[in-house]
Symmetry: C3
């Protein structure tokens, strides 16, 4: 007879920030993307296999905003990075918890679609789930933790793009 | 001059439950998934071709929660079920009607992405639309009907996974 | 210290109309789709390459509802249009601005999935972003502008379907 829990019925408060993070990556505005993280943010990309086994080893492991910034730009400066368009689709947001200080834990599924400039078709680059922690800094919602756990990583594009 | 109808502007109340149903399937928590249905729930998977012609014949037809449970677990126990990851993307939720007793009729598009453990790429396993009826049982929103109408069913994976 | 902007925390008011537009296309109800536009609506489909360069040249360019209607139906009457199912997935809605008269500017990512009747698999037909302007006409929200900017256009299906 109890009221449905907050996880069911509140709008997913982090979802609009999700969209803005995705938009920044889609438009390759990597500085804007970085600025949506807290200074001490954790950003990790790891396989579902490792995540399920509790292994923290991943493709990307950044422990603060400076590392996130460096990692994002390092790739763009390599000559191996073929020009491409990326497009994020984020869905199924679930707010897991909201703490009294405004910290939000949530999850969402994602798909990253990719179009190489010299190919006509879009491909499924990466499919997975975000485990996120959002926190307010000076009244503004920022991303304090993002674990991107991928089901697949398409081998020909294994260069590690932020997602 | 009338106000926009409820179908347009209310948040899609069933959407968070949609996400939780999808999450349970993504994580192969089939008991949790089953428990989100009402005892007398209808669960059907059928082709768009049959749906458009008014033919009820489908790949899965379950008339109550017990049948849904049996059907979900039967597959997992077959030796033909190759290990795989599934990932649901649900979008375009539309609330069709909200009745005075809290029953919600809604629809949403879905994509099920699949990664076989021995293949590096994700594929589009199934694409379609959910026609849903949500009902409150003891204050909690449950799924009373779900018709999954698929545009395609990828032949190599024709074993019928719940979606 | 300022409050988060409206772009972050208000529900994306145009999103339900997005879903209804998508549903109308998915079900090939082209007249219903057309009626969701204002009389003077702009509807354009153009490549991301041209959009980024500020070139307005596109696959479709319609300056009012009558042109949109004609364009939508013209395709269906050609003999080259192979029977197919389309399915829209819209995500990452961001409200860019809300004006005092109720006009809403927003963006959203989209994927159009396609199933040809004689093929078992779904394919990624088109991937891109909507740049939209919604306006109230007689109390009802309508689409006053939609620019569909596609990352890719799958060559074998280059016939220009409304998205």
């Amino acid at each position: 007879m109890s009221e449905p829990a907050v996880t069911r019925h509140s709008p997913p408060d982090g979802a609009p920030l999700d969209s803005q993070l995705a938009q920044a990556l889609d438009e390759q505005r990597l500085s804007d993307w970085t600025e949506m993280f807290t200074d001490d943010a954790l950003y990790v990309i790891l396989s579902r296999e490792n995540y399920d086994r509790g292994l923290p080893v991943g493709l990307i492991y950044c422990e603060n905003k400076r590392m996130i910034h460096d990692r994002a730009f390092a790739l763009m400066e390599t000559s191996m990075f073929a020009p491409r368009y990326l497009r994020h689709i984020i869905a199924n947001q679930v707010v897991v918890s909201v703490e009294s200080n405004g910290t939000i834990k949530s999850r969402a599924n994602y798909v990253v679609l990719q179009v190489l400039f010299d190919r006509p078709d879009a491909t499924l680059h990466q499919v997975g789930v975000y485990y996120d922690v959002f926190r307010r800094v000076g009244g503004e919602l920022k991303l304090a933790e993002r674990r991107c756990v991928y089901d697949n990583l398409l081998v020909p594009n294994a260069l590690c793009i932020p997602v």
